[in-house]
């Protein structure tokens, strides 16, 4: 009878000491890094190592403790396990954030160095007489970088929260909870998406090309990108079959919504085409060949400002579509829709990872 408890104590001791040892390791890793261009893979490796070690530790701890209190009530066991998992997840998250911020600081220093070099070589060549445009350049790019950095951090947190919500929706739908409770989950799911649109609007002001490029998404998601995100009509096509069965009225309403989306998307796409034409025409509005193009570039930049409004309108369309679907569908259908949407994006992300790792035939 004493055997299990002894095992429990020694595992616990092991668990207490290892994390401190790991944090020491972490610090050493950073001290030895002089190259600001620390590759992301190094950071990922360190974090993975920590994760693997801490997982094994917590599993041993839990295995022993469950052997120890087999007679203890099951719910208590589950709660303890849940708390331990939460603590682990929080710890991992903090460590990841720390690594990420460190990487950003290093990148930022490197960027400032590069910009200074660029400034110097530009002045030497004298090709582009920037006037007031280059002064304060470092200050502006600093603000842009911090806007992007803030967004990336926020997006990572947003994804974690979204994945958590997907799990909650899944178990809620399987557990047959009441419509009122389900409604709460649906509402928070929707608000969560609205939060993303707010974040995107904010970073678009700092750097609209960043949002347009979809750099913050995985490669497969980028493949489907339209003005900085998904095409609402495409998502409707994917999700509606997942929400079956629908009443006749619902089918009609959804069809109308899909058609309205397509019309709105077409109108925006045509507006974008017009913008491209305008910028292009402005850039080449004079007789080229003399190497002097400051006024044309400055005018074109003014036209380009409209791109921010396009991104905002596209997100506005996405938000409206989401809202409208929630009016058409019942609570249960809306929950299934949100779950399907979340899972669809997870699959796209898995596709991106698989693609990145699949062996390629030699050329």
């Amino acid at each position: 009878m004493d055997f299990p408890s002894t095992q429990f104590v020694s595992s616990q001791t092991m668990a207490t000491y290892e994390p401190i040892h790991q944090i020491g390791m972490w610090g050493e890793n950073f001290k030895s890094i002089s190259n600001p261009n620390i590759s992301a893979s190094v950071i990922v490796d360190v974090v993975n190592k920590l994760e693997n070690e801490s997982e094994t530790t917590s599993h041993e701890m839990l295995a022993s403790s469950s052997k120890h209190d087999q007679e203890a009530s099951k719910p208590f066991d589950k709660i303890q396990r849940r708390l331990a998992q939460n603590r682990e997840a929080a710890r991992k998250s903090r460590l990841r954030k720390k690594a990420y911020v460190q990487q950003l600081e290093n990148s930022r220093l490197k960027l400032i160095q590069l910009e200074q070099e660029l400034e110097r070589s530009r002045q030497q060549q004298g090709l582009y007489v920037g006037g007031g445009l280059d002064t304060g350049h470092l200050g502006i790019s600093g603000a842009v970088n911090s806007g992007i950095a803030a967004f990336e951090l926020g997006y990572e947190r947003w994804m974690e929260e979204r994945n958590k919500q997907i799990c909650e929706l899944r178990s809620a739908l399987n557990a047959q909870i009441s419509d009122i409770e389900l409604r709460i989950l649906v509402e928070s799911g929707m608000s969560h998406y609205f939060e993303l649109f707010r974040m995107k609007s904010s970073v678009a002001k700092a750097d609209v090309f960043y949002v347009m490029s979809g750099k913050w998404k995985t490669s497969a998601e980028r493949f489907f990108s339209w003005i900085g995100g998904f095409r609402p009509s495409e998502l409707l096509k994917v999700l509606v079959p997942q929400i079956d069965p629908l009443t006749d009225q619902q089918i009609l309403d959804v069809c109308n919504l899909k058609q309205s989306c397509q019309q709105a998307e077409d109108a925006l796409s045509q507006g974008m085409e017009k913008l491209r034409e305008t910028v292009s025409a402005t850039l080449a509005s004079d007789q080229m060949g003399q190497g002097i193009y400051v006024p044309q570039v400055a005018m074109a930049m003014e036209k380009l400002e409209a791109l921010v409004r396009f991104v905002n309108q596209a997100d506005h369309l996405r938000q409206q579509t989401l809202q409208q679907m929630s009016y058409i569908l019942t609570t249960r259908q809306a929950a299934r829709g949100l779950l399907a949407l979340g899972e669809y994006i997870q699959r796209l992300q898995a596709l991106s990872t698989l693609w990145a790792n699949h062996p390629r035939k030699p050329a």
Partner: protein
């Protein structure tokens, strides 16, 4: 006030109509033009900067519903004056692009988009006399 009239102007408008996303182009030739009159005379009229892409989007959306909106393209110099006058007509602040329906301010691209998605736009267009069906 020069409003499209005569075969030649109509053809000219038709060719240029594609450029602004559709719609009949109205040009303000003098700043004394009564905008209030334009607003009242047209079931749907869109005011916007010349060459504005957002205006293009609004026009395409309205065109998609079978509406032929009057489009007033404002030059940069006249922009402030037009905005001021429209604000007086409306009794409040105006931003470009500004859509007037049935003699009243309807809103900007935001409102056109929202009502288009919710399906509210078509009844409003009918009420303003821009659509008959």
């Amino acid at each position: 006030m020069a409003v499209a009239g005569g075969v030649r102007s109509r053809l000219h408008n038709f060719l240029e109509g594609a450029d602004n996303g559709g719609g009949r182009r109205l040009v303000i030739t003098d700043s004394k033009t009564s905008l209030a009159k334009l607003v009242v005379e047209n079931a749907v009229i869109v005011f916007g900067r010349r060459g504005c892409c957002m205006c293009h989007v609004v026009n395409r959306l309205l065109l998609g519903h079978g509406v032929n909106p009057a489009v007033c393209e404002v030059d940069e110099e006249k922009e402030e004056a037009v905005l001021n006058e429209l604000s007086i007509v409306n009794g409040g602040g105006i931003q470009f692009p500004a859509v007037f329906m049935g003699g009243k301010l309807f809103g900007g691209l935001d409102r056109v988009m929202s009502t288009h998605i919710t399906g509210e736009l078509v009844p409003i267009l009918k009420e303003a006399g821009a659509l008959w069906l």
